[in-house]
């Protein structure tokens, strides 16, 4: 912008200065029915290409499973979507208007993307109910949290989530003393209470007993529809029990996409998993 133009824009006082306009992301626009666009994404770490021209589209309300051998770039992909890792090139859009590559983690979380880690990460020194309180949506600034109190509506919301994840009885227990499966559910509950549109769930079934796994599968399928859920998982039985559509990642890009049956009969997928 030339000097003259800059001066003109500063002198124009029928609108506020540009830097004073709050930098809020636009509302989520789902007019085309697609909630997440990843296009031509590349990421490399010290020359190693973790993500290589990745293209992935997720429909609104879908439950998508992502599988792939170790090092295929599944976790890196989640890191890019949630703002933890910067992409070298490509674009990532949440709905039609929200550019994820320009936002950091708290902004992305506020825009409506929740993430569950591979290892269950809950606030171990806090009771279950406080874990949910901390995760609850709303203003998360320093000053508002200093004086924040739970109101009745928020309490009801916490109760509702406790029912969904089945931890009503444990609500006053320290999160650190929960079993592995319960921690996983609590973490999913912490995502839910933020009212996210898109849930990224990294290996929810890892280390679970068979019953726990069934309950998790039920929980995730019940979430799809209202929320869009992306599940990264190793356990094929688990994937088969929940997935309608599966994407296979290999060496940082999508190798195949389709129903579980299609995938299992795909020659390239068999090669990747079993070796030629």
């Amino acid at each position: 912008m030339s000097m003259l133009e800059s001066i003109r824009s500063v002198m124009r006082r029928d609108e506020v200065f540009e830097f004073l306009v709050p930098d809020t992301p636009p509302d989520l626009d789902l007019t085309h029915g697609i909630i997440l666009y990843l296009e031509g994404i590349n990421v490399s770490f010290d020359g190693f290409k973790a993500i290589n021209d990745l293209n992935l589209y997720i429909d609104d309300g879908e439950l998508r499973c992502i599988i792939g051998p170790n090092g295929a770039g599944k976790t890196t992909m989640m890191d890019i979507i949630t703002g933890k890792t910067r992409a070298d090139s490509g674009s990532a859009w949440f709905g039609q208007h929200i550019n994820l590559l320009k936002m950091d983690e708290p902004e992305i979380a506020a825009a409506g993307i929740g993430r569950k880690f591979q290892k269950p990460t809950v606030f171990e020194h806090h009771p279950v109910i406080e874990n949910l309180e901390l995760a609850m949506g709303g203003d998360k600034g320093v000053w508002t949290t200093l004086t924040a109190r739970l109101n009745g509506e928020q309490r009801d919301r916490i109760d509702e989530i406790l029912t969904i994840i089945g931890l009503q009885e444990q609500h006053n227990k320290q999160a650190g003393s929960l079993s592995h499966g319960q921690k996983q559910w609590l973490e999913i509950g912490m995502l839910l209470i933020q009212n996210p549109k898109l849930l990224l769930v990294d290996e929810p079934a890892a280390g679970m007993t068979h019953q726990e796994m069934e309950r998790t599968a039920e929980l995730l399928t019940s979430l799809a529809g209202n929320h869009t859920v992306i599940v990264v998982e190793h356990d094929m039985d688990f994937v088969r029990s929940i997935a309608k559509k599966v994407s296979v990642l290999h060496q940082g890009s999508v190798l195949a996409e389709g129903t579980m049956d299609d995938i299992q009969n795909d020659q390239r997928v068999i090669e990747v998993y079993l070796g030629s």
């Binding site: 990460t121 606030f123 020194h125 806090h126 200093l146």
Partner: protein
């Protein structure tokens, strides 16, 4: 109302505050009203010593807030303490007026000695008490704000951050040692005469300073208690335990760290300001890295993540220090090091951890 609720949530702390209130009443009475022949008389020396301990306790509370609750191991809090102390020292220097050795009406003795002709710009304003008190909180607060903004924004954590805080206080130590800085070089600021017109030598002024220290500790304690019991406090412990999770939950971790760190630095500054008139001197030695490490040891001994533990730790270790440096001057550093090792190995939750049967880390 809020106060009652707060105190109810912290029984041991309430007990400690009650004890503090009692001390605040009894010590000055025993010093001022009882004759020296009485067995209950408390000497001015003892009262001043206790007053200094209370300043240390406030400093320990400030460190516990960032270390115990937020997980930032600051090894440079002595710097904020010393800066607050210097701000107070500058006020006290200006109060000397023409009573200095050289009798200059404006310039402090060390400036006359260095052949300076006029007051450096940063000494202006310190003849007013309110201005000096403002600087007591603003200077440490600003330093913490700038330092924290740079460090937390770049996500420096853990050991690296601790080393940076050590470097910060060491850099200030070297700077303040220089005569050209205009803070009295290695002699620091001393030979104070009076504060707000009251002679620092009089018992009444000393009693006043003691009460002020106790009040500052009480208020500082309550404000930290208020923070740790609010949702803000819960976010802090969440950051301490799972920083990434907190970030993905939508909290701006760096903002939380920055404000708590700055608040803590301000508390440390107040502690320093109250310490200086009672100690009678402030010199660059307060910036020494070792001094900052000692503060961390007080908190560790008392039990971190309990505010009353920090107070108890500061009092115990400093009492031991006063005793040992008099009885066996060479043994003190060994005792301090040994104490730290023992506490880390045997009492990870500090002395107050012994009193608590079940886990109460909230």
């Amino acid at each position: 109302m809020i106060l009652l609720k707060l105190l109810k949530s912290d029984r041991s702390g309430t007990f400690m505050l009650a004890l503090l209130l009692l001390t605040t009443l009894v010590v000055p009475i025993c010093n001022l009203l009882l004759p020296e022949s009485s067995s209950l008389h408390i000497s001015t020396y003892t009262m001043t010593l206790l007053g200094k301990y209370l300043c240390y306790a406030l400093l320990a509370v400030a460190v516990d807030l960032v270390w115990g609750y937020l997980g930032i191991l600051s090894l440079g809090h002595g710097a904020f303490f010393a800066l607050g102390g210097y701000a107070m020292g500058m006020y006290l220097m200006r109060q000397i007026g023409s009573r200095g050795t050289y009798g200059h009406p404006v310039l402090p003795d060390f400036m006359v000695f260095l052949n300076w002709q006029e007051l450096p710009w940063f000494w202006h304003g310190f003849n007013w008490f309110w201005f000096a008190m403002l600087m007591v909180v603003l200077v440490p607060g600003l330093l913490a704000l700038v330092f924290g903004w740079l460090a937390f924004r770049s996500r420096v954590t853990g050991v690296y951050l601790s080393i940076m805080t050590q470097a910060l206080t060491y850099a200030l130590l070297l700077a303040f040692f220089r005569n050209e800085m205009g803070f009295g070089g290695n002699n620091g600021l001393t030979d104070f005469k009076d504060i707000l017109g009251f002679s620092l030598q009089s018992d009444h002024t000393r009693a006043g300073l003691f009460i002020a220290s106790a009040t500052a500790l009480g208020l500082g304690y309550l404000s930290c208690l208020y923070i740790t019991r609010s949702r803000l406090g819960r976010v802090c412990t969440a950051i301490r335990d799972q920083e990434d999770r907190t970030r993905f939950t939508g909290y701006r971790v760096e903002h939380f760290k920055l404000w708590i760190f700055t608040f803590s630095a301000m508390l440390a500054g107040i502690a320093g300001a109250l310490y200086v008139p009672q100690a009678g001197i402030i010199n660059p030695g307060e910036f020494a890295p070792l001094a900052s490490i000692e503060i961390v040891i007080w908190v560790a001994v008392g039990g971190r993540a309990t505010l009353y533990g920090a107070v108890a730790g500061a009092l115990m270790v400093n009492y031991a220090k006063s005793y040992l440096t008099a009885a066996m001057p060479d043994a003190w550093l060994f005792a301090l090091g040994g104490l730290f090792v023992l506490v880390t190995l045997l009492l990870p939750r500090g002395v107050t951890g012994l009193l608590r049967k079940k886990e109460v880390t909230r």
